[in-house]
Amino acid sequence: MSVTVKTAKEIFDQVLNGEELFILDVRNTDDFKDWKIEGKQIKYLNVPYFDLIDGVEEIMDQIPKDKEIIVVCAKEGSSKMVAEMLSDKGLATSYLKGGMKSWSEYLYKKEVYKDDKMTVFQFVRVGKGCLSYMVVSGEEALIVDPSRFTEIYKKAAEDEDVKITHIVDSHLHADHISGGRVLAEETGANYYLMKSEGAVFDFKALENYNKIDFEQVSLEVIAIKTPGHTPGSVSFFVNDKLLFSGDTIFVSGLGRPDLGGKAREWAKDLYDTVYNKVSQITDDVIVLPSHYADFEDEVNRAGYIGETLGEIRKQNEIMSNQSIEDFVEHVAQSASSETPPNFEEIIGINRGVEKAAEEKQQELEIGPNRCAVHHTH
């Protein structure tokens, strides 16, 4: 049997289709436990490649003979070696092109909203649970929370025949490197960020903007200052229809406030945001967050990550009828254990106080995101 090569896109499409997959992950056990390709229909076997150098005989009884086997490793080399061994045993085998590194960098694009004024696309970074957006109106586009893969947004804008004129970051990210600054340089777009987040390069301070209007169409972006996740977190309320909630509200929970080391203080801000600001927004508004924890749990019927505010309120008791004390206690406790990998260095890069070459950026971002409160164990 010949070995086939699969891209991250091809594997994610199989996950989306609910196909039953068998993944043989040959990374170290710790890496596998920390972070892997997720899917409800996936069966896993984790055996480090160095235990298979002499052959795959010992694991043959754990490998299904009637399913396609996808071998996965960190960068590709080891998975190719093991895939070839399995293939020699007569099994239909493939391996992930570029390994988990490419899985970490794959973005899936999906249209999430369309009316006569705007079209909105969601970009799902499936390996990390990060979401970014493109709002298209007339001949212009606004990008929300871009990842560092700026080519993808430029291509998306080209496909829609529009120019990227505005870029916003809802906060200074701790789990991934923002593409905002680079994308602004490449496109000449305005880049907005809260000044209070401490970035040291040139940008437009969101503190000075209650609205960001673009095109003659009335596409209105209102920055609602929503402290809580980081002191300068904002949400963007678009045309009274959509709420880009950043890391403040997720489909299945609230953002974690502890990454700056002042969990309780920030949890109070988060309470104020949820109870005094978000509570003014109507139930039919669609919340589009910057993160999710479990794609298949949080994806809606239309195939994207998002939910009406009313539904999110229903599912999250913590968002209504709680005292500030109970709220702060719940949030502070649940958010205290794990942090995103390398978050201090990533924050340094996003502030512009540290620099890193691309290879270093890839390395820093490898692994899971751990930004949602309910994501802790």
């Binding site: 170290n28 480090p48 490793c73 080399g77």
Partner: protein, 93 residues
């Protein structure tokens, strides 16, 4: 084919212990899985107690060697990193 394993002896210090590398394996420029594949072969040619010194440039080698050593009963005595060059000293179990 050029033999990868070069036979010579050097001394390194670890605490008060003098470690004598029985063999040096040059795995520079090799990508995963080759550093470990070569290490495994090289160490199989050694006696219990012998020390293998490995030079590698693949960043993944560090974690992988540490995990591999644990699963095999060999011992990772020392590792260093300078200018992108990783060196490891492993004692055969």
């Amino acid at each position: 084919m050029v033999p990868i394993v070069v036979q010579y002896t050097i001394l390194i210090k670890k605490g008060n212990e003098n470690m004598k590398a029985t063999k040096v394996l040059d795995a520079k420029g090799l990508a995963c899985p080759m550093p470990i594949v070569k290490t495994k072969k090289a160490i199989e040619g050694l006696q219990s107690g012998d020390i293998l010194e490995i030079h590698a440039t693949d960043k993944g080698a560090k974690n992988d060697l540490a995990a591999w050593v644990k699963s095999t009963g060999h011992e990772l005595l020392e590792s260093t990193e300078a200018d992108g060059l990783f060196k490891f000293w492993i004692r055969r179990g």
